[in-house]
Symmetry: C2
DNA sequence: TTGTAGGCGTTATCAT
DNA sequence: ATGATAACGCCTACAA
């Protein structure tokens, strides 16, 4: 690997001059500039990002921390962030937290150690205090899908409460009253806020919350299975179930069909997130849109303006979920 | 951020000694070691990965290049690689190539510049020659889902030809003879090999390949739509269609159902990849398993033994696809 | 076992 | 406009 030193020798200039042309931040005469560029290309010179980063304390790359690398949710999120950043010439370094406190911290420290100019994190296990402390450090940390008081200017979030409300309301509007609810892990703010919205919709329509028709799942397909099995065992009638995310909804649909339910006539189901496969399900799943991809773009725009001082882009920090009506809800009369 | 220098001062030892305890590669007396560790923790010292990497020319992290960050295929692949590597204390730096030659090269150079100890790449647009040239460089490059002559020891691949054969054979075994085929972009080796397998199955069973029942799609849902629309327009009877991947299969299923076909009775469909959502489809999709997750694990094991000299792990370089029978194929008689 | 000192490839501050 | 020359934070012979 050719170094800046060899380039300077070949071009007959100093190290400093070579550095100047690669960064074109200082005036260099066209003639010497050309000499340097020529030398670079004949040597096939590639700047060493590590050395650069060490010397300049920048890296032109932002760290991303997600819970998992697979799954439609994080896929869309990462893709949104990456495409926005890449268009601006920045790179992305991705790592995972697996929703475990230790691993999330480890991941963040890895990214800091990697000299990222900023970090965009989707963390679920770590405490608000930790994040506030982190926020005092020198590398700015932005939060996806999470709102933390005291760093609201660094949070991009979805109004999950409204989302939960919309989901349940969609069912109520179709005449449903006996509504089961499969929640997500309650330590996750997303999950607990969605539940809050659900309860508000119930209250507003004078429907009592029934503990027997409440189940906490794991945000995965199995959670939907387990939840529905549980409800059926209760032998209490219910005509609809809202699932706190689409994975669980699909699990519930599958379980229902395997147990003789005709969908949506025998059972209405609504999901949350509007993940890609909701379109593939049969019947197609009515759900609440969670614009993760857009939110990813927005997070990227935020670091672009805050950290990289790009000319002001339009920033929007909290997103409103919307109802996506498809075919998994039946009208009750 | 505390540096190694401050730690050495506080502990009353030299820089070298501090370095030794962090790497524990040289003998240090227990007493001084403890002093250093204490100093580290009271200072909250975190080694600077960039400086480390520059000095040692290692980084304890491997670069991953995938075409896209979203989508079940790459999600599984990244997850497989990451979990295996992480268990071994290595980190992962992910970037994308978007199936475009320039971006793939850019991504690889980024990873090299980042001083990755190795690179695991899923590249589609770049030429074999480029890869062979790259392979002479100092950072080892491993290829996912691609076989390149001359660097077979660095390739983890699936026998796509066999997979294509299995898919078509599954249909033939159920009595189908008029079989349409929706292929993937033929510049992708995966796609062209699957087609080869399809043709072999046809030949073996004395079925002529019919150009009118052949369509090249984009490996996305739209490809399935477009393909099926095309076939129907031909007004040639066909009882089954094999799709070169699951996304296209789902598109085809959807289009078929929207146009009055009852699945699988009116039309049998088989996919490829056994991506997660095939389970969610209705009817559930019969497909060919592409063990990307396992292959990711294997690629990671490969770099673990080759690059990090872990004790020999069992390595398997080419994977055999298997048929996953579900409910999207009807028996014809 | 421990310390000294040069080096990794760039950037950036002074001079000139 | 260009050139010396310290940093940047750590590793690693080589010495002691």
């Amino acid at each position: 690997m050719a170094t800046i030193y060899e380039v300077s020798k070949l071009a007959g200039v100093s190290l400093a001059t070579v550095s100047r042309v690669m960064n074109d931040n200082a005036r260099v005469s066209d003639k010497t500039k050309q000499k340097v560029l020529d030398a670079m290309s004949t040597l096939g010179y590639r700047p060493n990002a590590t050395a650069r980063s060490l010397a300049s304390n920048r890296s032109d790359s932002v760290g991303i921390l997600v819970s998992e690398l697979h799954g439609p949710f994080f896929g869309q999120m990462m893709a949104g962030i990456e495409s926005e950043l890449r268009a601006a010439g920045k790179h992305v370094i991705i790592t995972t937290g697996h929703s475990e406190e230790d691993k999330e911290k480890d991941g963040i420290e890895f990214l800091i150690g990697r000299n990222c100019d900023a970090i965009i994190a989707h963390v679920e296990a770590v405490s608000d205090e930790y994040l506030l402390e982190l926020n005092k450090g020198k590398v700015p940390v932005y939060l996806m899908s999470r709102h933390v008081d005291g760093m609201e200017d660094k949070c991009i979030s979805l109004d999950n409460e409204v989302g939960g409300y919309l989901a349940t309301k969609a069912l109520i509007d179709q005449g449903h009253k006996d509504i089961a609810y499969i929640a997500g892990p309650q330590f996750k703010a997303d999950a607990s806020n969605r539940l809050l919205g659900h309860k508000r919709a119930l209250v507003e329509h004078n429907i009592a919350f029934n503990e027997s028709l409440f189940f906490i799942g794991d945000f995965k397909e199995t959670g939907g299975n387990d939840g529905l099995r549980h409800f059926i065992k209760q032998k209490i009638p219910f005509s609809a179930v809202v699932c706190a995310n689409d994975e669980m909804a699909s699990g519930a649909m599958k379980y229902a069909r395997e147990h003789g339910y005709h969908l949506p006539d025998d059972l209405s189901i609504i999901g949350f997130d509007n993940v890609i496969f909701t379109n593939y399900l049969y019947p197609t799943l009515t759900t609440v849109d969670n614009p993760v991809n857009e939110m990813g773009h927005m997070a990227a725009k935020l670091v672009l303006t805050d950290v990289y001082k790009n000319k002001k882009l339009h920033i929007e920090r909290v997103f409103e979920p919307t109802l996506i009506e498809r075919n998994s809800i039946a009208r009750l009369n």
